[in-house]
């Protein structure tokens, strides 16, 4: 192992601490804000020591927002559920479509395969707002506006290319000989896909799924334009806290804490697989 002097180690610790503080500070501040009332949040100078209150959370969970101007109904829990439903369904659909497609692109070079794969990738760098305007018109005509079906469909623009391209790389990294060996042993191509390719690309698929989930969860603009109140995810739903009587910072903070909790929990749980999955392709055997 490398030898480091004491000073070097101290400096390194300080540098690390600075980086952590820099990146974590907004989150920490939001976390603290979520336990404060609007008054304490807006007081100048900000108070580091305050009496924590759970009123923001109770307001969100009960759906009753009490402010100076009276009581307001907010659909935060509904939004949270929408977020979960939309993200999970979108990722599931993407995996269902993207993983077999990725396998096909990885294993079979057919006419135009590269072009098709690249076209799918290009969805990722089309500006969403540019796509949205015509899409809105179509969706209204087709009756898909403000439906879960339509939203999940549009979310494929986010999830499918991501999953396709990440998973394709993992399939390509599996030695073709291993699959040949299974075929020669007497198994069909589908059994080979199921029993060899899928398990071996498993960590990569999990990593791609998780990334897609995070992207879907954080999506704002698609849902903003294409969904109305009862179908909106938390990202859009948070707008409701900008009320006529002022911005409800406390509730916004609590909403943020609640809405990053699921992705955070998922990421922490899957971290092991994520690191393994994302680094697997980097080291060729």
């Amino acid at each position: 192992m490398e030898h480091t002097s004491l000073i070097e180690r101290i400096l390194r610790a300080v540098a690390l601490a600075l980086v952590v503080v820099f990146f974590m500070f907004p989150l920490l501040w939001i976390f603290l804000m979520s336990f404060q009332t609007n008054e304490t949040i807006l007081s100048i100078p900000p108070e580091l020591f305050f009496t924590p209150t759970l009123q923001n959370y109770t307001a969100l969970i009960t759906g009753k927002l009490t402010s100076a101007a009276g009581t307001l109904d907010i659909a935060f829990m509904r939004n949270l559920w929408n977020s979960v439903f939309l993200s999970v369904t979108s990722v599931a659909v993407s995996l269902l479509l993207g993983v077999p497609a990725a396998y096909a692109f990885a294993r079979h070079k057919f006419r135009g395969s590269e072009d098709i794969a690249f076209t799918l990738l290009s969805f990722r760098f089309a500006p969403p707002l540019l796509v949205l305007l015509p899409l809105t018109l179509y969706f209204q005509q087709l009756g898909l506006a403000n439906t879960y079906f339509g939203l999940v469909w549009v979310y494929q623009l986010i999830c499918l290319p991501l999953i396709l391209w990440i998973v394709r790389g993992y399939f390509e990294d599996i030695s073709a000989d291993v699959e040949y060996a299974y075929r020669i042993a007497g198994h069909s191509w589908f059994a080979t896909f199921r029993k060899i390719a899928l398990p071996l690309a498993g960590p990569g698929i999990a990593a791609a799924g998780l990334l897609a989930f995070i992207f879907a969860w954080n999506n704002f603009v698609f849902a903003l334009v294409l969904a109305s109140a009862d179908k909106q995810p938390v990202t859009v739903g948070a707008l409701a806290f900008v009320t006529a009587s002022g911005i409800q910072y406390g509730q916004i903070a609590a909403a943020i804490v609640l809405s990053i909790a699921p992705t955070l929990a998922l990421a922490l749980y899957a971290q092991r697989y994520l690191v393994e999955g994302l680094s697997l392709g980097a080291v060729k055997g």
Binding site: I184, A185, P199, L200
Partner: protein, 372 residues
């Protein structure tokens, strides 16, 4: 059991023709060795037979059945890969069991089959290990066990000893012939090691650029190589190659080596007056006493023991270096001046331009095409 026939196989990758019109018949129960340098298309040929690649032209017939368009899983071949190609997420038992499971064999039959072949290959104690936890030798045996377990009528072994250590390679070279003979399968064995080829093959097909250069028994390949390249590939130490131009006078055909006249048999007639390369196997050369008729004077440069042989590097007066080998432990000079006797019957004569062997008693040898 089965005969395997290849008819006019052509395989191209983009513009690169890897196999050009290859035909070959492997008899029932025969072990045919495909021998050749890397890039000669040996592995590609195996993959075509296994059905994981498709030929651009030609037919593959196994046991009388045309395999064109038949998927790999229906061809009834077993294959061991050079890189083992074990399934990393399954333990050795599951790896070996895959061919039996594919036929929906009952569980106890699978167990019995795997265990018997594992015992045979001495890997029964590591059946619960994943490939990652196996040594190279055990991986190789697991791969071999997987190829053998279903008793396929045709076995394709793609250089299975390439990635194992020298000791194991030596052991397996001794064990494999018996093992394969017991199975009675028709075997194609790919290797780049001429000793393996000689030890295992009933016949050897030497692959060159895009096709089979020579097909014959190990003895034929060694004693009557079709060309310079093949002569060079077989034999350790390698054959001595000397540029000569044989000539004829009243006493017969001869060449001059270091000013000494070396008589050649009358069958060397086609070489007269041509630029030729004479191939002298190191073991056909003998040190003799000074003054022996036809002996070539040389200076001994170095002596090296090589397994069961002693190899001596000598230099002729003309400055050419020649290797001489003799069984280890037999007497011979190790320094200074010496004399070499050349066994004229053992001289292989090749045309310098084409590299073809100038066959005894006839015009230039026709290229032996691989139809047996």
């Amino acid at each position: 059991m089965a005969t395997l026939e290849l008819h006019n196989i052509v395989k191209r990758f983009k513009d690169n023709t890897v196999l050009d019109d290859v035909s070959l018949t492997v008899n029932d129960g025969e072990i045919l060795v495909l021998f050749g340098p890397s890039g000669a298309g040996k592995t590609v040929l195996l993959r075509l037979i296994a059905g994981v690649l498709d030929a651009d032209a030609g037919r593959i017939v196994i046991d009388g059945e045309d395999m064109t368009g038949v998927d790999a899983e229906f061809r009834g071949v077993g294959m061991a890969f050079q890189n083992f190609a074990l399934f990393p997420h399954m333990d050795a038992f599951a790896n070996i069991a895959t061919p039996l499971e594919a036929r929906k064999a009952p569980r106890d039959a699978v167990k019995a089959g795997v265990e018997s072949v594992a015992r045979l290959l001495k890997i029964d104690h590591v059946l619960t290990h994943r490939p990652r936890a196996l040594s190279n030798g055990q991986k190789q045996r697991t791969a071999l066990a997987r190829a053998l377990v279903g008793s396929p009528p045709v076995l394709l072994l793609d250089d299975p000893l390439r990635n194992v250590d020298a000791k194991l390679r030596f052991e397996m070279r001794l064990e494999l012939p018996r093992l394969l003979a017991d199975r009675g399968a028709t075997v194609i064995y790919v290797t780049q090691d001429y000793k393996e080829a000689m030890a295992l093959g009933d016949r050897i097909a030497v692959m060159g650029q895009a096709g089979i250069r020579q097909l014959g028994t190990p003895e034929e390949i060694y004693l009557q190589p079709a060309g310079l390249e093949i002569a060079r590939l077989f034999g350790d130490p390698t054959i001595n190659l000397l540029d000569v131009r044989p000539s004829r006078d009243g006493q017969g055909i001869h060449v001059a080596l270091s000013g000494t006249r070396v008589e050649l048999p009358a069958a060397m007639e086609p070489s007269v007056g041509r630029a030729c390369v004479a191939g002298l196997r190191p073991e056909t050369l003998r040190f003799v006493k000074a003054g022996t008729k036809g002996a070539v004077p040389v200076t001994i440069e170095a002596e090296t023991p090589l397994n069961e042989k002693t190899v001596t590097l000598v230099r002729t007066r003309g400055g050419r270096e020649i290797l001489v080998s003799r069984p280890a432990g037999t007497p011979g000079p190790d320094h200074g001046e010496a004399f070499l006797d050349i066994d004229a019957g053992g001289v292989l004569m090749f045309d310098k331009a084409s590299g073809e062997r100038l066959a005894a008693g006839g015009p230039a040898a026709p290229r032996k095409r691989a139809t047996a």
